[in-house]
């Protein structure tokens, strides 16, 4: 599905409940003579989708277009079946920007309550819902303290709470894991996964690829304003045929293992490393099963098998190099 640029997509009807939560249809965006996005088409469905790209690749432009802060120069963006600039449609959106300079002197409770009132909650409903959401996000004890005194992790939680308190259908998270310590990162990753499981469509942008790999099931890879690839990680890796898959093996008898591997037609290279052997293969993911089988047949010759380049970072590097 590499570089899927399906031009023939038609906009789903606004009333269609099964419509993709977020759709980009041949969207281009220019800033003067600079092209920030070029003919980008994709759909974001319920679950967690990672938006991957280097700085300046067009991730922020996609986010701005998706939340309606920016208009496409060409093409169409649909959020929950309608225009993201429509206030009714925006009610289905939860947006957590990467910016962190909001009101330092107000408390977390007040900030979230205020955001809910702007969203259309009455004063009473907003106050109750804000308290409930902040408790859910583990800020029960800190919600009445000024945001200025919060740690980075707490600030991210408040940002997420304001984005999610109104139970939006589509959630756009711009670099939500930046600057977090490992514990806070783990908590937020779990939280985002949980949201995806509850049927929300989540688009999460990051340039830290290993973080995204932990949280997202689907990926959109953007590079130089173009959609490079979209799909699940395994699916994408399988598509990259010109790059043999690298697998690292650890064994007490590496030479014996290498001899057996060389006899396999799909193995195109074997290299000895400090830890064992690195194999290059054109085989698919089923090869792991066969390697395990060989290991078992040869009386436990192979102690450990792990893929070297079946990760987002490698896939992205192969696609952009």
């Amino acid at each position: 599905m590499t570089a899927a640029q399906d031009q023939s997509r038609t906009p789903p009807a606004a009333s269609d409940s099964d419509a993709a939560s977020l759709s980009f249809m041949s969207v281009s965006k220019w800033y003067g003579q600079i092209s920030a996005l070029s003919e980008v088409s994709f759909d974001v469905e319920p679950g967690v989708t990672g938006l991957v790209g280097q700085n300046g690749a067009g991730k922020s432009t996609i986010m701005k277009l998706a939340v309606g802060l920016s208009r496409p120069s060409q093409g169409e963006v649909l959020l929950s079946g309608g225009s993201p600039r429509d206030s009714g449609v925006r009610r289905t959106l939860g947006y957590c920007s990467d910016l962190d300079r909001y009101y330092e002197r107000v408390s977390g409770r007040r900030f979230v309550t205020w955001m809910l009132r702007l969203q259309g909650f009455s004063a009473g409903q907003a106050a109750a819902r804000a308290a409930e959401t902040l408790e859910e996000f583990g800020l029960a004890d800190a919600m009445d303290r000024a945001i200025g005194g919060y740690s980075k992790g707490m600030r991210q939680r408040v940002k997420l709470a304001q984005a999610l308190a109104h139970e939006p259908k589509v959630v756009l998270l711009d670099e939500p894991l930046t600057g977090l310590d490992p514990v806070a990162r783990h908590d937020i990753v779990e939280l985002i996964r949980g949201l995806g499981e509850r049927g929300k469509a989540i688009l999460i942008s990051s340039h830290v690829l290993h973080e995204l790999q932990d949280v997202a099931e689907q990926f959109l890879l953007v590079h130089q304003g173009r959609l490079l690839a979209e799909g699940g990680l395994d699916e994408l890796r399988e598509q990259i045929e010109d790059r043999p898959r690298k697998i690292a093996l650890r064994s007490r008898q590496p030479r014996a293992v290498a001899a057996r591997l060389c006899a396999m037609p799909e193995i195109i290279g074997v290299r000895f490393t400090d830890d064992g052997i690195q194999v290059e293969t054109k085989g698919g993911s089923d090869l792991f099963g066969r390697l395990t089988h060989i290991g078992a047949e040869a009386g436990g010759l192979i102690e450990e098998i792990h893929p070297v380049d079946d990760n987002l970072e490698a896939v992205f590097e192969y696609l952009t190099s």
């Binding site: 600079i34 925006r90 947006y95 702007l118 499981e197």
Partner: protein, 298 residues
């Protein structure tokens, strides 16, 4: 038995109207005066009522709530010499605002109105607001409403309270009868003036990236146009219409003309209307360009 599954379920709530959604922004804008450090805003705000408080005090003295023993009917003498101290005259209600409150206008607009949008730019609050179903114009109107409320308490509510207290304290209905014909026009005039001046100040705030810069430019604009108006008026041999380039002066004249304050009832308001109209039109055109998310390529 029903299996609901884990599909997305929206929260059940009835969204409030567009106006009610803008209210938190307006209310926050109104309150921003009182959130300054060391209670400075509260102190200045109370100070803004001094001209109206003096009028209120005079109402108490005039209607005999505070007796000053004297053999001569000094109140009649004072009112005879200074007609603007007569609570049944238009000037009694308008002069504390139009003649003595230019500094009040400067304090309130410089500290609050002309910082309204500028203070939200550096914190990127605009990005949050505009993804919340508040349109850029809805946001601007809410900011304007907040500033209008703040200045309106001094420029509209205070004279109204002074009038109501006077009417309530009077021994008969004479004061009500004498003032009822002009009071609605005074109120309409003051509402117009407050609305125009706060609109201009809030619109100005959209053109600066920082609130301090906005305050500075606004102060230069108001004081500069006032000075330029006076100079041009002198250069052109007392031609009054040149002063209309000063928004404060032109709106002041329009209020006096509309309320029928002597001698301004014969004033030709064309120049004031044109100058204010051009200023507001230019600001509105500028707002169309500035009141949007800053689009920059990463």
């Amino acid at each position: 038995m029903v299996i609901h599954g884990v599909r997305y379920r929206p929260l059940d709530y009835q969204p409030t109207s567009r106006w009610r959604r803008g209210w938190p922004i307006a209310w926050n804008e109104f309150r921003s005066m009182f959130k300054m450090r060391w209670g400075m805003g509260i102190f200045l705000f109370i100070l803004c009522f001094v001209p109206s408080l003096i009028s209120l005090g005079w109402q108490f003295i005039y209607h005999g709530a505070y007796q000053i023993d004297s053999d001569v009917p000094w109140i009649e003498v004072v009112v005879g010499r200074t007609p603007r101290l007569n609570p049944a005259s238009i000037s009694f209600y308008l002069d504390p605002i139009l003649r003595e409150s230019f500094w009040v206008f400067m304090v309130l607009t410089t500290l609050v109105s002309c910082r309204a949008v500028a203070k939200d730019r550096p914190t990127d609050a605009l990005e949050i607001y505009w993804t919340r179903g508040i349109s850029p114009w809805g946001y601007f109107l809410a900011k304007w409403a907040g500033s209008f409320l703040l200045m309106g308490t001094v420029f509209i509510a205070a004279p109204l309270v002074v009038w109501l207290v006077g009417v309530a304290m009077a021994s008969d209905w004479t004061q009500l009868e004498d003032s009822l014909w002009f009071m609605p026009r005074v109120m309409v005039g003051l509402i117009f003036m407050t609305a125009v001046l706060t609109y201009a100040a809030v619109a100005f705030s959209a053109f600066s990236r920082t609130p301090n810069r906005s305050s500075l430019i606004w102060a230069f604009f108001i004081l500069g146009t006032a000075a330029a108006g006076r100079v041009l008026s002198r250069v052109f041999r007392g031609e009054y219409s040149w002063k209309a380039i000063d928004p404060w002066d032109s709106s002041k004249r329009l209020v006096e003309w509309f309320a029928g304050v002597s001698p301004w009832e014969d004033y030709d308001p064309t120049a004031a209307f044109v100058c204010l109209g051009v200023t507001l039109a230019l600001l509105t055109i500028g707002l169309y360009r500035r009141l949007r998310h800053v689009e920059v390529i990463a």
